[in-house]
Symmetry: D2
Subunit: 493 residues, 4 copies
């Protein structure tokens, strides 16, 4: 047996950092942490003006800058209070330090290099130093620090200028290490489609002996966007393509001096659009199930992008379900993919077996858990099989076992389907939200199972797009010797 | 249309009053109030020594009594804080005031008349006065005050002496009215099987012009107990017998000066034993469904005995499921009968139709709710039908409706069944309690329904012992004109 | 005796509406409501783009607008959940509807008239209709609806164009009344210094018979701002000037058809700057005490601007204490002025007496409360008296009374003073925040007082800038006859 | 410097175990843990019938016993959930196992030896095994297991029969060790006044090689009780007598094979009566302060008896303040002695200096804390000094320090004094409870202090019976260079 790697829960994505000041965001994160429990959280915009860190001012005719951490502290206090650590992404550029006015997103993150490299280094140094002062070195050493986001795209970094990024990386990494050499710094956080970038970056880092503790990239499988108002449709590649992207950095770095560095997939999803309804569906959970189950073989973390629909890159959502990335909608309605993660969180820690439609684990108490999923047709959902049969035999001690099964599919654990049946209310009333919350819970069934020859046999039928969790525990029968269910209400035994 | 009477939620029973000091009891009541919302709560033992009210002492060689309300205040504060009012039952006898040492229950409630009638009157007067001082007259006038419990049984009142009870009633009622004439006092709280007692009591009250604001009795359908260790089996009569018992006081008082007085069924259940497993079953919910749905036709309240398994009349329960009366077990596991009540709490307020297997209601928003239940065989559960079909047509405006269905039966919403499959753990581990809580939730399904000729047709199939709630709401379709689900993931429209 | 008007708690101000999505804002408001209990809350920016209501889009080559209420619902749900109702201010202009690009504040509220009056009317109509649909007409009729903010200032309304405002008012008021004639609409929400504006506005409204349910204006006493980095100093006028401003609308409207309309002072404070440290001081509470105590004589509401330092008009605060308007800082540190309001919330409802340094109230239980304050020198704080003596005699029944006194001054209930002594930490550590919370509590003392001739005599000495609350209740002595404190630990009596 | 031993917080006492099922008890413990943080909790009655563990039954004419843990699990789950571990005391005798009917306390704990030693061993074995099964061996090994309570007194052990106790100890200790040899067992839990008992017990244990992991005894300083109704007066010895009692077991065991065993003072207080008002007073905190500050020099734990007034040995309290042992009254009113402990919980971990009226500590951050107390006259409170001066110099780095001082005395932090002034209401109204909670908080003051030659000089004046905590932290001044308080409101600098 081998251990199930914790990479699947090592990190999760979030919208820009200041959203973490919001109540809905914090309520959602608290729920996520209670039922899933991610280790780190990563989002954009730490240095964007909404966080209020970089504060130029003039005094007696001279220009100065003050670095202020009023909101950063509120965010990090909240994160740590919910048991999740920041995975810091250093970016974007504060307006007062920017060399241009190009921005990305509705919320206008400035994507230009700093006007002054030394002022940028001051900003990085003061921020990291402040965090160390406030949270302690032992704590902050556990927070990976990533330099910028997707510099290979012109939307995110002016002209996608690799040389400029390398300079940014070098100055930033060096500055971070000046604060403390055991802080963990890395990059280049590239998007899919520019795989060479990582190699060039690695060569630069090696050549100039720049500090690096991890490498990072992103993974998505969607094709080009076709827009409708407040929505997007896209084709998808097969889910296996995500695993290929997860695996690529290790392949690329093999044989180089960077071989063996931790690889963090700091964003992944099917579609990279926050307005693609695929994120809301049961299909999505079944599509990603094999990725979440196996991704830990290929990378040290892979961060679902993102945990909450409280996200504003394309503006403020106009309806409760709007194709957002979230595992949760606003108001904490669980989507099927939430349950995929919540099911993973209940898996045991030793792998018993794996297959194209399942993962089986156990632990020292003899408990066995099975995650199983229906195969999907990612090109034409109507071709996804309407049912899928699966037979498993799992080891178990004793004479009988208790099985609890939890499932989500097109009907159960599927608030989006209920919301469509409700007429797609943009702003559901409180009683509609209550109904959606009920519709969002998995169906649970249970039964006793015989143990034959040290095994329990499971004959499963999965419905269309079903993801199911089976928890099987050995039974210790405490029924008193004198008890006879047959006597219940006068029935003869 | 007629209004659905609120009698079903007017009152609920609880174990002896001091149990309300317990955390588990309060957590259970808070949950009950959140999902059901009873108006009053009634239990025994207000004057028993565990409440510490009657406190004899000696000073300078003379005997005195102090009346102390340390715990009574804690209990009533907790009740009111959870939105439920006391239905006061004055009893049993404090040891220091008792004329004998006969007791009832494991916890030894003294069942003898007072040694001094004037000391009893002092106790009643001081207690009621204290409550009025603390909670205000307007509040306390809403608390019915019942004199003693089941005086027609020798277990509860020495020799079941009717004359002594009449005297107790007269002195108590007069004393209560001396505090304030608008306080509500009543009795005689008799058990089934002594129906004449009510008539005799009524004659006494009328003849002596004793104050009376309501009459009360109890209702049960179980036969004699056959004991096993820590458990009891009994036969049951048909559920309709409960409705007959509810109806009896109005019949008995018709034509007397007491006709028209409110009638409170201050206890009802199937079995009167707190160790009969029938209380834990899906059968029980289906058995009682027609009673809860129709009981309001016959009485002003009928109080399910009792809301929680935190109850000690037969001693401290030895296992999580032990046949207790509770709608909830210790640790707040919901039983099927809990859901019968929770479903009732979601019914609308106007009755549309009733039948032997359903109740249909609506309200001014056009929402329709259906409570339906499978018929049961109360003599031989194996003969309860394995499925039951039901066809209903309900009025609805618009072109489509949204249906949410919630059900409990032998599989769903049935923690007891899961607990049996687990091997009946006496003291379930935390992870077992979590699984039981999940098993205890109803299954929820949803769908869109067409509205044809102003009606929705419901073809229902109920499983064995199923109780189901259907909530049907008119749909206002907000789907944007440009939206086409067919485009989801590249599907042709 | 006359009743103490509730005007002081009728409304409170807040920063722009979207801040109400934040956790710190909601935690602060919850605390405010628990200890003070305002009835309404008013802030800017309902229609600004951060709320995401006005959403232009293009479909098939045509421009459309969708009105979306995702965040508005979250804000209003939160308000109502905390027991406070919105006082709606309709403004500023969504970018997509603006006729120019002039903005106000760091967060860039657009201050120009709409590009299309009919599109503005659509926006108003849809928003109000949505609120009525969601919250019910009976509820929304209790929310005053104010048109724009301070249109008399060029910073807030392009060119401070009165005619354009009148047009805006007329279209808006008419549109609101079209939704329901009992909704309450008003204006013109002018700042101090343009008193004539109200008269002109009133003439316009009367002349054209435009609907109006209330008039509104603001009140401040500060002089011109002298800026330092991240801070402002200003002179102040006497506090009585606030009462004069409160009183002005009634004087101005006397004799006009608008006489008798409710007058709402929808903002007031000493300084109108959110970076003036005077807001943080004990002086501020003593300065405002006579205003809060007497303001209800002059207007129907006067809304303290604002309840929380979570406020961004001048950018994100760089330090915990920064001269913000808040009754609470970020992280819920109470300022002295918070306690002024919390003391008011504990006053009884009938006025016994008033004076230049006190207000005395009582209620039907015989409880007497006194709010007293030290006189201040608003021009030179060093001249504020270091102590102030006050002698009061209040009626009380019985033989003795219990007095609880709560005070804030330069030492007690003064977290700002402690923060200065701490070295003004910009981002206090958790343990510093704990210390500040402790420093922020009033000092409480208590004593027994004799009642002589039906009165209690209070000889008070107030320290510099002290505001104090005295709560005096009649004692009902329950000491047992046998008790002798002298026997405690063997002391002879 | 030496470390401040944690003995003061190692354990705290509680009333009989079943009281831990109560809401008030749990609310009190949660508050205690939040502000003090004890490590273990010990009380009587684990095996008494109110816990429902020992359950005889008859089946098919034969007698059996079932051991049931319904309530024990609820109690231990609650303890661990609040971060405190059980210090198990095995006793008293279940009625069904008792050899006689002698009882102790209002709640009738049976004090007789078991009728069957093997049945007793079964009870111990099953209980300990159940706890290990449920909570894990690693956890339960951290719970000391003490055999019986005060067997040297005839009230607690039939005839105070030492031989019978030795037999009980041997059988119990052996049985516990049979479950796991690393479980910690000890005794003899003797009361003061029978010091020889410990020596005899030690000889027995050594002679027969009986397992023993710790020794335990109790400590009290009160003289004989003089009763009044619902109250008791007693003389007290000097507080130093407690330290002498703490120290005695180490002296007694020195040179024996048991030397070096942990010594647990499993109960201590001034008076051993739960109805002696001394427990409620400021005197009590000042009297015990030197004991709590120095007790760790003499024993491994000393458990304040008890944390809560929810305690029923002498019956149910008839008034809020009644001389109970509690650090908290019912309803969580803090007594002065609560604050003594809460102050201790804020002390640093390294001792700087000690004296007859103070304890000074520091830690690696440079923070210094001082606990100081006024000397008391324990024979005649009127002779306790009305003020006490104290001068301390403590090391501190930098140029200035911030001091926060918290005090309780005859006026501040003294709810009992306020309650007396209120007329001693037996059942305070909610508003009276609120006032008492406010009166119960310490007074807090703060100031900046200069650091001269690396030291801060503290000139303290303590009032009568004052206990005070000083927290002094070095200041890092962040005041901006441009800031001038003199400009506040136009004042010249």
């Amino acid at each position: 047996m081998s251990r199930l790697p914790a990479a699947w829960r090592a990190c999760v994505g979030t919208g820009r950092m200041e959203l973490a000041l919001r109540r809905d965001h914090q309520d959602s994160l608290a729920l996520i942490q209670r039922e899933i429990g991610f280790r780190h959280i990563r989002g954009h915009g730490l240095f964007s003006d909404g966080m209020g860190i970089h504060r130029p001012f003039t005094h007696l005719g001279e220009k100065h800058v003050r670095h202020s951490f009023t909101y950063l502290d509120q965010v990090v206090d909240a994160y740590l209070g919910m048991g999740v650590r920041p995975f810091l992404e250093l970016g974007f550029m504060p307006d007062g330090l920017a060399s241009g006015d190009q921005t990305v997103f509705w919320w206008k993150g400035n994507i230009t290099p700093p006007r002054s490299w030394s002022a940028w280094a001051d900003l990085v140094r003061d921020t990291v130093t402040h965090l160390v002062d406030r949270y302690g070195l032992a704590e902050v050493r556990q927070w990976p620090i990533e330099v910028w986001n997707e510099p290979n795209l012109t939307q995110f970094w002016l002209d996608a200028d690799a040389d400029a990024y390398h300079r940014l990386y070098e100055i930033t990494a060096t500055t971070v290490k000046d604060v403390d050499p055991d802080l963990q710094v890395g990059g280049p956080a590239i998007s899919p489609g520019s795989d060479k970038w990582l190699e060039t970056f690695a060569e630069f880092v090696v050549a100039r002996d720049v500090p690096i503790d991890f490498v990072s990239r992103h993974a998505y499988t969607s094709g080009p966007a076709r827009h409708v108002p407040f929505g997007t449709h896209q084709t998808l590649g097969p889910a296996s393509r995500l695993l290929e992207q997860f695996a690529l950095p290790r392949h690329q770095l093999a044989g180089t001096p960077l071989a063996g560095l931790p690889v963090h997939i700091t964003e992944f999803n099917s579609s990279y659009r926050p307005d693609n309804p695929v994120h809301d569906t049961a299909f999505h959970a079944a599509y990603l199930a094999p990725v979440v189950a196996a991704g830990g073989d290929h990378a040290d973390s892979f961060a679902y992008w993102t945990f909450s629909d409280m996200f504003e890159e394309e503006g403020i959502p106009v309806a409760l379900f709007h194709g957002g990335f979230g595992l949760l909608t606003h108001r904490q309605i669980k989507k099927p993919t939430f349950h995929l993660y919540a099911f993973m969180a209940r898996m045991a820690d030793e792998i018993l077996s794996r297959g194209p439609d399942h993962l089986t684990t156990t632990d020292t108490t003899g408990r066995v858990t099975v995650l199983a999923w229906a195969p999907v047709d990612h090109e034409d959902l109507r071709n996804s099989p309407s049912s899928h049969a699966l037979r498993l035999s799992v080891p178990m001690t004793g004479s009988s076992a208790f099985l609890m099964r939890s499932s989500v599919d097109e009907q159960y654990g599927n608030a989006w389907a209920a919301w469509r049946e409700m007429g797609r209310p943009s702003s559901p009333l409180p009683r509609q939200l209550d109904a959606l919350r009920e519709a969002a819970e998995p169906v649970r069934s249970h039964r006793g199972l015989p143990i034959v020859d040290g095994h329990v046999t499971l004959d499963l039928t999965l419905s269309r797009h079903e993801v199911t969790l089976l928890e099987i525990t050995p039974v210790r029968d405490e029924t008193p010797s004198w008890w006879d269910d047959g006597h219940l209400l006068g029935m003869p035994s």
